[in-house]
């Protein structure tokens, strides 16, 4: 077991890899009461086509998420929620484009809960009846999200950015696709992707490291690793699908979705450094202390703004979602900002100071550290132990050269407005 010092944060993390390839990450806290356990597979809704043992497979959209729901079925009839609740703990799970994780949060009975979590994820129990039962529940989940205008806008934007990537679809799939899902699909994907060499356990909070390691080894040490399926991705073209579209939504205030599809080839940086520079760039341009933000605030043309960078096989995609009473003016402000980028050292240094301070603040929160470490493992294949140092070393020269080379020519815009407003615009 390795002990890794998280630099600048006075904390040690423990890491080990079992002989079957399963990775273990543990960040213990003496002074806290709660613990967070996550048992995860690097398999998410991204995967719909793959080759396993020489055979090509194609499964309906939303299988990874459906599988996550159905893992909570137990032959005894007592589900994991009930087991965890006996010690006042919570069980939960989530699926993303690139992972599925099962979680237990609590402050009592750590060894029992850890063991149980590992066991129930290791023992799928799918029947035709219990698979059928879930269709009503997941249909309501899909409908719930589709009713949210921001979500609808983001999904339309994804559809207009990607041609072939599974990121153009809802993680949960569609109602018609999930109707096709069978017990066999679930077992098939489970056996393909829930193997120790594709999975990891991450624990943060109050627990005993030695004890946790022993339980994980007992429960998972004997599991056999298997060759991982070859995942089939159809090459994603450089161009966006649609440059501009206006859709109808049940909104009083119009919304805009703005995406830039950046080929990774046009960015000279990789990994964490690349993500830090990209995020800092858009924070300087559109963040709360940017000149842009002050200008649109004064002009009263921006209400909410949300932005993020996404990683796809060959692209980094920037999303900006906003609501505005004057969507076209806001769009031209955004585009103006992107075509007049100049990075001032003083600003960059200030944002660096903010990010470093936030790293220090984060270590107080077990739940937030759990999320940060989890994302690191998914995105960088390992935890990052020197983030503060990397931030400290960021400089204007690298940022300027990034800005010079980055290809931001592929843009997709979606506007959402009420039916009557769209009719006025169309005419």
């Amino acid at each position: 077991m390795k002990k890794i010092r998280l630099q600048g944060l006075d904390k040690d993390l423990y890491q080990d890899t079992l002989s079957n390839g399963l990775s273990i990450y543990m960040l213990p806290y003496e002074e806290k009461n709660n613990y967070f356990i996550s048992y995860a597979t690097k398999y998410g809704s991204d995967v719909t086509n793959f080759i396993l043992e020489g055979k090509e497979n194609s499964v309906p959209l939303g299988v990874a998420h459906y599988l996550e729901h159905k893992m909570f079925e137990e032959p005894s009839g007592e589900d994991p929620f009930t087991f965890f609740s006996r010690s006042g703990s919570d069980g939960n799970a989530s699926t993303s484009y690139d992972y599925t994780q099962y979680i237990c949060v609590g402050n009592k009975c750590f060894p029992e809960n850890l063991r149980y979590l590992l066991q129930f994820v290791n023992e799928p129990y799918f029947t035709d009846e219990n698979v059928l039962k879930e269709k009503g529940i997941i249909s309501e989940e899909i409908k719930m999200y589709n009713d949210l205008p921001d979500y609808k806008l983001e999904m339309k934007l994804r559809e207009n950015v990607y041609h072939t990537s599974a990121k153009r679809y809802d993680i949960a799939g569609t109602i018609s696709e999930i109707k096709r899902i069978t017990k066999d699909d679930l077992y098939h994907c489970y056996h393909a992707f829930y193997t120790p060499n594709n999975m990891f356990v991450l624990i943060t909070g109050k627990f005993d490291v030695e004890e946790a390691h022993r339980i994980i080894e007992e429960e998972l040490g004997k599991k056999k690793s298997k060759p991982l399926p070859k995942i089939l991705f159809v090459k994603e073209p450089k161009k966006v699908v649609k440059e501009e579209e206006t859709i109808v939504g049940d909104v009083e205030i119009p919304k805009i979705g703005f995406a830039i599809k950046v080929p990774k080839k046009s960015i000279s940086l990789t990994g964490l450094e690349c993500d830090l520079y990209l995020n800092m760039l858009t924070t300087i341009l559109f963040g709360s202390s940017s000149e842009f933000k002050e200008r649109v605030r004064q002009d009263k043309i921006l209400n909410d703004i949300y932005m993020e960078w996404e990683d796809d096989a060959e692209f980094k995609t920037f999303y900006l979602l906003a609501s505005s009473t004057e969507p076209d003016r806001l769009l031209s402000e955004i585009q103006y900002e992107l075509s007049h980028i100049s990075i001032v050292k003083k600003t960059l240094e200030r944002i660096k100071k903010v990010w470093i301070a936030n790293e220090v603040k984060m270590i107080d929160h077990v739940d937030k550290m759990q999320n940060i470490l989890f994302d690191d493992i998914i995105h960088y294949g390992d935890v990052v132990d020197n983030r503060i140092e990397v931030i400290r070393n960021m400089d204007v020269k690298t940022m300027t050269s990034l800005v010079k080379k980055i290809d931001m020519s592929e843009v997709s815009i979606v506007k959402m407005m009420q039916k009557k407003n769209k009719e006025i615009m169309d005419s």
Partner: protein
């Protein structure tokens, strides 16, 4: 962890010393009896104070100052608690040990600047700043239907009783917004600073004497106030027959919301058996509602119940298909009736107690939840969380049955989606 409460006449200072965190968290809480026509003004006021001050002429300048203070977080919120409206200003800043000497004082001074040195000339706030805030409020008001769960709760409470404070819209009202101008807003500011009850909470690793001096130096509250209005909301008599109200929207999922007022009960019953009963009824993924309505009958993805002691009310919320409205209501009614008849086990009670104890243990995990706990104890006279853990462990099944008999389903609201689309 050590808690000290100091009555400083015009405000109470609550100091919670703990070395568990790298930050110092301060929450300044203003509260006064809620008046429907003042909610909008209160929202506008708390926002305009964060737009500029006499020293910082724009929001950007304020944000930059906060960034320079090693990413000090400053924000506010306004909420209703029972019969009161409560506005909080929150400051969270890293301990000087991780920044530089004097950073904490500068941050407190900055908070003092926000509260006591507003951007005012000749008794008026700035017109341009007011128009920014008004526009934001207007947008928030016209976007309220975008969150169908929240909106269904608002409409449920209005259908229940429009005169009751529980039905007041915390986003405010357009007609009140139109009446706000730079002068009457300043008058309202003076009224809040002078007449509101004020409590200041600080949690973190600090020297209490030094902190007291810093607060006294930068926060100047003068007037001494005494409380009169009780916190708990009272209800008119329950309806004889349930009221069912419906409203349509263009969504595909419908939102069910139910209001269940609670009859007269002793304080113990409200603080203990009812809280435990709610965990069993609809408090989480192991509750009767979740197991029966979602897991057994596949009628929804989300369903829960929430108990509000100060509102004297239990609320139920679920996202369903409109075709299943009658079926869901019938099922929910049956589950509630079963609880009243005692059709649950000691095991259910013990599990609920575990959940409760677990939530008590989690209080000390972060500074905001510690402050929220002491604030709730202060405002509602709740026993301390250490005492609650003891008392709750002794609650019996029969106590829950007795108190649940006082719960009555009164108003049922359906926000009915008219879309039948499959995908």
């Amino acid at each position: 962890m050590q808690y000290t409460r100091k009555d400083l006449g015009s405000y109470n200072l609550h100091l919670i010393q703990t070395d568990k965190f790298k930050t110092i968290t301060m929450r300044i809480v203003f509260h006064s009896p809620i008046k429907k026509n003042e909610i909008t003004k209160r929202n506008v006021l708390s926002e305009i104070l964060l737009q500029s001050t006499s020293k910082y002429s724009s929001k950007r300048n304020m944000i930059i100052e906060a960034e320079e203070l090693y990413a000090a977080d400053i924000y506010n919120n306004t909420q209703r608690i029972g019969n009161y409206i409560m506005t909080s200003f929150i400051l969270q800043v890293l301990h000087d040990q991780y920044t530089e000497s004097g950073n904490l004082e500068k941050a407190i001074e900055f908070m003092g600047e926000i509260l006591f040195h507003p951007d005012v000339k000749n008794g008026k706030f700035k017109e341009d700043k007011l128009s920014i805030v008004k526009k934001n409020c207007e947008v928030a008001l016209s976007s309220m239907k975008e969150d169908p769960v929240d909106y269904s709760m608002v409409r449920l409470k209005e259908a229940y009783d429009l005169d009751n404070p529980i039905s007041y819209r915390m986003l405010g009202y357009k007609e009140d917004l139109d009446k706000i101008d730079v002068s009457n807003l300043y008058q309202y500011y003076l009224k809040m600073i002078e007449n509101d009850f004020v409590d200041i909470y600080v949690a973190g690793n600090f020297d209490p004497e030094e902190l007291l001096l810093l607060v006294k130096k930068h926060f100047k509250f003068r007037k001494i106030k005494r409380k009169r209005v009780p916190f708990e909301v009272e209800h008119k008599r329950c309806r004889r027959r349930r009221l069912i109200a419906k409203e349509r929207n263009h969504n595909s999922q419908s939102k069910l919301a139910v209001a269940c007022p609670i009859g007269k009960l002793k304080i113990y019953d409200k603080n203990y058996p009812l809280v435990l009963g709610n965990i069993i009824f609809g408090g989480g993924v192991d509750s009767k509602l979740f197991k029966e309505v979602r897991e057994k009958n596949s009628l929804c993805y989300t369903i829960y119940s929430a108990y509000s002691k100060l509102d004297n009310m239990m609320y139920i919320s679920a996202g369903i298909d409109k075709a299943n409205f009658d079926k869901t209501v019938k099922l929910v009614t049956n589950i509630l009736e079963k609880l009243k008849k005692g059709k649950f086990t000691d095991k259910d009670v013990n599990i609920a107690k575990e959940y409760y104890q677990s939530s008590i243990t989690s209080i000390e995990e972060n500074p905001m939840s510690i402050i929220r706990e002491y604030l709730t104890e202060e405002m509602t006279g709740l026993d301390s969380y250490q005492e609650r853990a003891q008392i709750m462990s002794k609650v019996k099944r029969k106590d829950i049955i007795r108190t649940y008999k006082k719960i009555k389903m009164d108003t049922i609201f359906l926000l009915e989606g008219d879309q039948d689309e499959e995908d």
